[in-house]
């Protein structure tokens, strides 16, 4: 059985996306020497149909690489991603192209991810043009207009250009580009981080609407536990390339178990002046990826670490049903 720690749906139904022991390495050059950086190491999870899985962690923890590896935008080093019975990593170029119609990505920066010289309509239709999804010009127009309607914009946007749009509208276009070929899975990489609070709320609601209307499964990647908690059914917390805790969203928020998850929860600025962050919260920062500690990567910052943690990396183990934690001391 795969390492599935997820909700009831995932156990009963066959998962739509099954990620097994995914590892992605990057080679970087520092001071004339080549180093191998394990951006993602042994990450496993499953995604059920209609499930929203949040991946949360700080910069450099590998959450973006997980998303990019699934669609082979990053080159995975080891592992398997099973989608509809096919191993994506073993797929031939033709097959991969077809798979990428079913697994789509939404990117963080709606200013950088749209071609400034193409009209919105052309940008939205691009996938369809490449894959020959349109029967005629009229059909192309109808589908583009329809997709724009899905993301809450009217057809007149098709003739506009990105510079005429606000950040929130651009992100809607980013989502429209993703859902045009009616995908099964959407990987949203920090889709609301660049947006204002009021616009962020609109885009989160839109994703929730689309998820329900189209029965989408979403991998929602973010650094903000509040945002992840808002939209996800399950959450996986990543630290230095590994998943350190997975559980149902409510459990992560109400009862975080891993010391790192606890720190993340404690550091989140709560909009309540009565609960202020205490001074001197924690001064250490994650260790360098180039100089990976032997044992638990969190040991140095951890308040409950023992000498055993420094030398032995904790495996991700099931603590209580549907909850997995990588820590020796909980």
């Amino acid at each position: 059985m795969p390492l599935s720690g997820y909700g009831v749906a995932a156990v009963i139904e066959k998962p739509i996306l099954d990620v097994r022991e995914l590892s992605t390495d990057y080679t970087v050059r520092r001071a004339g020497k080549w180093f191998k950086v394990h951006a993602v190491k042994d990450v496993s999870f499953t995604l059920a149909k209609g499930e929203v899985l949040g991946i949360v962690g700080e910069s450099g923890c590998g959450k973006t690489t997980v998303g990019r590896s699934i669609v082979r935008l990053a080159k995975p080093h080891r592992g398997k991603v099973i989608f509809g019975g096919i191993d994506i990593f073993a797929a031939a170029p033709d097959e991969l192209r077809r798979l990428r119609l079913k697994i789509r990505m939404v990117f963080q920066d709606p200013f950088a991810s749209l071609n400034p010289r193409r009209s919105i309509g052309d940008s939205v239709a691009e996938t369809g043009d490449i894959h020959g999804l349109f029967e005629s010009r009229a059909d192309r127009w109808r589908q583009v207009e329809n997709t724009l309607k899905y993301v809450g914009l009217d057809g007149s946007f098709a003739t506009r250009f990105p510079h005429e749009l606000s950040g929130g509208q651009r992100q809607r276009i980013g989502i429209a580009r993703a859902i045009l070929p009616t995908p099964d899975v959407v990987i949203a990489d920090e889709p609301v981080s660049a947006l204002d609070i009021s616009v962020q709320a609109q885009v989160l609601n839109l994703l929730a609407d689309l998820q329900e209307m189209m029965g989408l499964s979403i991998v929602f990647i973010s650094h903000d536990l509040g945002v992840v908690g808002q939209i996800s059914d399950h959450v996986a917390v990543m630290y230095m390339g590994r998943i350190v805790e997975t559980a149902a969203t409510r459990d992560i928020i109400d009862r975080p178990i891993h010391p790192y998850t606890r720190t993340l929860m404690a550091a989140r600025p709560k909009p309540d002046p009565k609960i202020r962050i205490k001074a001197g919260i924690e001064t250490a920062e994650p260790p360098s990826q180039l100089d990976r500690p032997l044992g638990c990567p969190y040991a140095k910052r951890c308040s409950i670490a023992t000498s055993y943690c420094v030398t032995n990396a904790p495996p991700l183990r099931t603590l209580v049903p549907e909850r997995m934690v990588a820590c020796h001391n909980v």
């Binding site: 700080e58 910069s59 606000s166 950040g167 929130g168 204002d196 609070i197 009021s198 616009v199 962020q200 709320a201 609109q202 989160l204 609601n205 929730a208 650094h223 903000d224 536990l225 509040g226 945002v227 908690g229 808002q230 409510r250 928020i253 720190t263 993340l264 404690a266 550091a267 989140r268 600025p269 709560k270 909009p271 309540d272 002046p273 009565k274 202020r276 962050i277 205490k278 001074a279 001197g280 919260i281 924690e282 001064t283 920062e285």
Partner: protein, 323 residues
């Protein structure tokens, strides 16, 4: 201490202009943190640039207003007087420390440069001051880090260096423009607690500009909420979160994901933020406001005094009296 009054920044010509910051007034007391909060384009950064005298020769210009510190209008000081006055004046830190630091200069040199500009102190004393400044911003191994280049430091450490450089001229007021937006939450928490510490120990006053209401709740003493170039509400932080009086503040707070009270959909604000010059008569928030009445659209809005320090630019603020 710092008193900004009737500050307006405009674009266009003196005959035909549009205000992007409109009659903004606020005060910051000694050792106080004032949070200036609002969404992108509301004019919060423009306000800080105007106060620092950093508006360029072309582009937005200061139409009216002044910023008085110890009786001097700091905005209109000529540049050379500004440097003299900078000793004890205003310093500023920005969102992205990497683009504010010189990538080919060691940290120590950059701090010493700031000290040299303001106080012509000799080498050894200057180096000692630089070390003390790094200690003050809680950078471990200060003597080693002085020789480091910016790229060798993490984002949080770089922002600490920026704070050290800002403190080099012993300012009374620090303007911090989204200093933690680019940082991770755990690092953000550290920087916030450092800033709080500096306020308490040095009596530093901070104008903290942010879009994040969570950060506001964590750090500041008083809040000014900006919308479309105007301050729409000012209050002590506890008051503001307890009972936001302006409908915009209230709506903004409702947009925040709240893990404690979960619902699948968030409250949103209908419509889009007013662009400069878009609303010429009446309240800029009127098109999106749930309490809007005819008078809001036709007449200009007065500030309503709710209690001592709590003011809102609204005809129908939530005073807590009506049900």
């Amino acid at each position: 201490m710092l008193r900004v009054s009737d500050l307006s920044v405009s674009i266009g010509t003196s005959a035909d202009f549009v205000d992007i910051v409109s009659s903004v007034s606020f005060e910051i007391g000694k050792g106080e943190v004032l949070g200036l909060v609002g969404e992108s384009g509301c004019g919060k950064s423009m306000t800080s640039l105007a106060v620092m005298g950093l508006l360029a020769d072309s582009g937005p210009w200061l139409r009216t207003g002044c910023a008085k510190l110890e009786g001097f209008d700091v905005i209109r000081l000529p540049p050379y007087r500004r440097v003299e006055f900078g000793h004890g004046g205003i310093a500023m830190i920005f969102q992205e420390p990497m683009s504010s630091l010189n990538p080919v200069m060691r940290i120590g040199e950059q701090i010493e440069e700031a000290i040299w500009v303001h106080e012509k102190i000799a080498g050894a004393t200057r180096a000692r001051r630089a070390r003390e400044l790094l200690d003050m911003v809680r950078i471990p191994d200060a003597s080693v880090q002085l020789g480091a280049y910016p790229h060798q430091l993490s984002g949080g450490m770089r922002q600490r260096v920026m704070i050290a450089i800002a403190l080099a001229c012993k300012p009374q007021v620090l303007i911090a423009d989204e200093p933690t937006t680019a940082l991770d939450v755990t690092v953000q928490a550290q920087i916030l607690s450092l800033l709080r510490e500096l306020c308490d120990s040095l009596g530093l006053s901070i104008l903290f500009i942010t879009h994040d209401l969570g950060v506001v709740a964590q750090l500041v003493d008083r809040v000014a909420v900006m919308y479309a170039g105007r301050i729409v509400e000012t209050a002590v932080v506890a008051q503001l979160f307890e009972r936001p009086a302006h409908p915009y503040t209230e709506a903004l707070m409702a947009c925040l994901p709240d893990p404690a009270h979960y619902s699948r959909r968030l409250t949103t604000i209908a419509g889009h933020a007013a662009k400069p010059g878009e609303v010429t008569k009446g309240c800029a928030f009127a098109p999106r406001c749930r309490k809007v009445a005819e008078i809001c659209v036709t007449n200009s809005v007065p500030y309503e005094q709710l209690s001592g320090d709590h003011r809102a630019l609204c005809r129908f603020p939530d005073t807590g009296l009506q049900p």
